[in-house]
């Protein structure tokens, strides 16, 4: 319910509000038993569901693992873009790992998410298979979407990942509709819509806040406020405040330090649990920072909107390091090694996977199997 967000200044939007929630760095071990094996995610172990333990408990390690995986995945993908093995480029989410990992730690496997053009972290944190994710970005038939979606459309519906989305804000009404369908089906699933700070200026997002609040739907709207709508600062783009958008629709809202995965997880869990119990939607603004370019194309278009000093200052609070410092060094090294090995395997898997047959370019266009006409006359 808090509306703590002062008008952010340029390039400091990421910084934690001193009055904001602080991480608990208390004693090790879960407070009420370990994670329930029935509710832990599939795929890479990124679940972390269960009580918020803080410190170096199993959740702390799971959060670190998820974040380290996302960080290194993005770094590897940037290399693959530069090498031409990923075509088109990606929108890296380095710096924003705590949001994906923290929110998804609060979710069950049957909960659903919609994601954004900068969605790799969300998709991985929700449990997508690393090999198939990598293969998707490299356009292989073994990819999550059989090479039809790529970076901006990665989806695994069986894991509740209803898709990253190339249109800013477009996932919000889709998540809201999925939440409605869950309620109508008598299920206690929750839907999470991830979007960036730029999306709070999209009408369709505001319309969705109204629908969700009006019908008390179990939706958590997660705004990843990284301070920039592409190249323009949030203060030049957003009138009022982001949580103020939610207040206008009578919706609970909270700002959290988006560089602190445990703080994000704790806040997300509160809102998710409440939504699951019928308490209606909420908006969670996570103040974070994008370490890299808006897009891997940026370095070629020579745009300049942040100074190296600003970026250096922004990188000062590294969410992966913050979480890593909470677990024993040996544990951290073990996770790091596991992540590297998994990534090596994934890249190898993708490289070894077949490219799609051009003759199948329009497979899956229609669920009913309708075949469209070819692009040339059938009779010469």
């Amino acid at each position: 319910m808090s509306d703590r967000m002062a008008k952010p200044s340029a390039d400091t939007a990421w910084r934690a509000d001193p009055s904001g929630p602080r991480p608990r760095t208390g004693g090790p071990g879960p407070e009420a038993g370990g994670p329930d094996p029935d509710t832990s995610g599939s795929g890479p172990d990124t679940s972390g569901s269960g009580p918020d333990t803080g410190g170096s408990g199993p959740d702390a390690v799971a959060l670190y693992r998820a974040m380290r995986l996302i960080r290194r995945f993005e770094e590897r993908c940037v290399e693959l873009v530069k090498a031409g093995e990923i075509v088109g480029g990606i929108h890296p989410c380095t710096g924003q790992e705590a949001v994906a990992a923290g929110v998804c730690a609060a979710l069950r496997p049957d909960d659903v998410i919609t994601s954004t053009h900068r969605g790799h972290g969300h998709v991985l944190a929700k449990g997508a298979d690393l090999n198939r994710m990598t293969a998707e970005l490299m356009g292989r038939t073994t990819g999550l979407n059989k090479g039809r979606g790529g970076s901006m459309h990665a989806a695994d519906v069986g894991l509740g990942i209803l898709g990253a989305n190339g249109i800013v804000g477009a996932g919000a009404p889709i998540a809201t509709g999925a939440a409605w369908a869950a309620v109508r089906a008598g299920a206690d699933r929750v839907a999470v819509s991830f979007f960036g700070d730029g999306a709070v200026s999209q009408g369709v997002v505001l319309e969705s806040l109204n629908l969700a609040s009006l019908w008390r739907l179990p939706v958590l709207f997660v705004c990843e406020n990284n301070g920039y709508s592409s190249t323009v600062t949030v203060e030049d783009m957003v009138a009022g405040t982001i949580v103020g958008r939610a207040a206008a629709f009578g919706m609970s809202a909270e700002t959290v330090d988006g560089m602190d995965a445990e703080a994000v997880a704790a806040a997300a869990r509160r809102h998710v649990d409440r939504a699951r119990a019928g308490g209606g939607p909420a908006l969670l603004e996570c103040r974070t920072y994008r370490f890299d370019a808006h897009h891997t194309w940026e370095h070629r278009s020579f745009v300049r909107y942040r100074t190296p000093e600003q970026v250096k200052e922004g990188r000062r609070r590294d969410p992966v390091r913050i979480q890593g410092d909470r677990i024993p060094e040996g544990e951290r090294a073990r996770v790091d090694d596991e992540v590297e090995a998994a990534l090596d395997t994934a890249v190898r898997f993708a490289r070894d996977s077949p490219e799609p047959d051009p003759a199948d370019a329009l497979d899956h266009l229609y669920a009913t199997g309708l075949r469209p006409r070819a692009g040339v006359s059938t009779h010469a």
Partner: protein, 324 residues
């Protein structure tokens, strides 16, 4: 036999499918009261949780339906105005339509977008009189334009049962047409299959929506001088090219009358395919709205910008004089 109108046929189709399949639900503005007549009485039968009055948030509730469809529902959205389809083009063409391919076939999006009063609604002027079916056909959305009550029933039922998004644009000009129909004979009609509304041997007239009835009347009037076959594609996309080819094979001549704007409209596509793939003995003709037309308000102007049966008569006579 009872007289059945287009709007009543749509109501009956909705009621039957809501009855048959619990996943079917209806979203839209004023659907509980049934301002557009089509959804009248449904909330009393199926309750407010399946017949859902939405806020005036077309973009949100259009993708909301996509989210519900991804979760196993089969939503039908009613739009009161055809021009709203421009507002939700993002949500239909860029989201719902693309999901199946972009996910590599992981999902289906069985949403039906129903506009029960499409095209000119006489006196409603520029922003209420569009007929955007060529636009959806161009994108590749399954697009249905029924020509009368029985077809409206059968195509609407099939649209709801289809696993892909389907746009159903029922011409406002047909809304006051009535057919004597044996209600027990109402049945689903397959999408993508046209039919010969009137057989003939000299010229094929492709007519869409309200022009099917008009073309049949014109054919009867001209029966002494020329034998006109009227082909109703029923579904604008996918178009029944086989059915058209069979007809053109019989007649060798082609006239198209449809309510598209001329440039890049359905008429252009039909003529192009016929030129590429069918044996014509005379140059084809098409009767459409003008290039880039916006329908003006005043009645005479509104009529002047729409295809007219007199133009059809002239085109048929011209095309039959030429060639051979």
């Amino acid at each position: 036999m009872p007289k059945l109108g287009c709007l009543t046929a749509l109501t009956r189709a909705l009621g039957d499918e809501l009855e048959r399949d619990l996943d079917v639900c209806v979203f839209g503005e004023d659907v509980r009261v049934g301002v557009a007549n089509v959804t009248k009485g449904l909330v009393q039968r199926f309750g407010p949780e399946r017949i859902v009055d939405t806020p005036l948030s077309e973009q949100a509730f259009t993708s909301f339906a996509t989210g519900a469809a991804l979760s196993g529902r089969r939503p039908v959205i009613e739009f009161q105005i055809p021009s709203l389809m421009f507002l939700v083009f993002e949500q239909i063409a860029n989201q719902a339509h693309k999901f199946s391919l972009m996910t590599g076939g992981q999902v289906k999006v069985p949403v039906t977008y129903l506009v029960p009063g499409s095209g000119s609604r006489t006196g409603w002027a520029g922003q209420h009189s569009d007929q955007p079916y060529s636009l959806f056909a161009h994108v590749g959305l399954k697009t249905v334009v029924p020509s009368g009550p029985a077809d409206a029933y059968g195509l609407m039922v099939s649209a709801i049962r289809d696993d892909d998004p389907v746009v159903v644009l029922t011409p406002a000009a047909s809304s006051m047409t009535f057919e004597s129909v044996d209600l027990a004979s109402l049945a689903p009609l397959p999408l993508g299959v046209g039919h010969v509304a009137r057989p003939g041997t000299d010229v094929t007239v492709v007519a869409v929506g309200q022009f099917v009835g008009q073309a049949v009347e014109v054919a009867e009037e001209l029966a002494d001088e020329v034998s006109v076959e009227v082909f109703d594609p029923r579904t604008v996309y996918p178009f029944d090219w086989q059915g058209l080819a069979a007809s053109v094979q019989r007649t060798g001549r082609l006239v198209v009358i449809d309510d598209s704007n001329r440039f890049c409209g359905l008429g252009a596509e039909v003529v192009a395919v016929a030129a590429e793939e069918m044996r014509l003995v005379a140059p084809p003709r098409r009767i459409t709205r003008p290039d880039g037309a916006v329908l003006p308000f005043a009645l005479a102007l509104d009529r002047a910008a729409q295809p007219h049966r007199d133009q059809l008569v002239t085109a048929i006579q011209q095309v039959c004089k030429e060639g051979r």
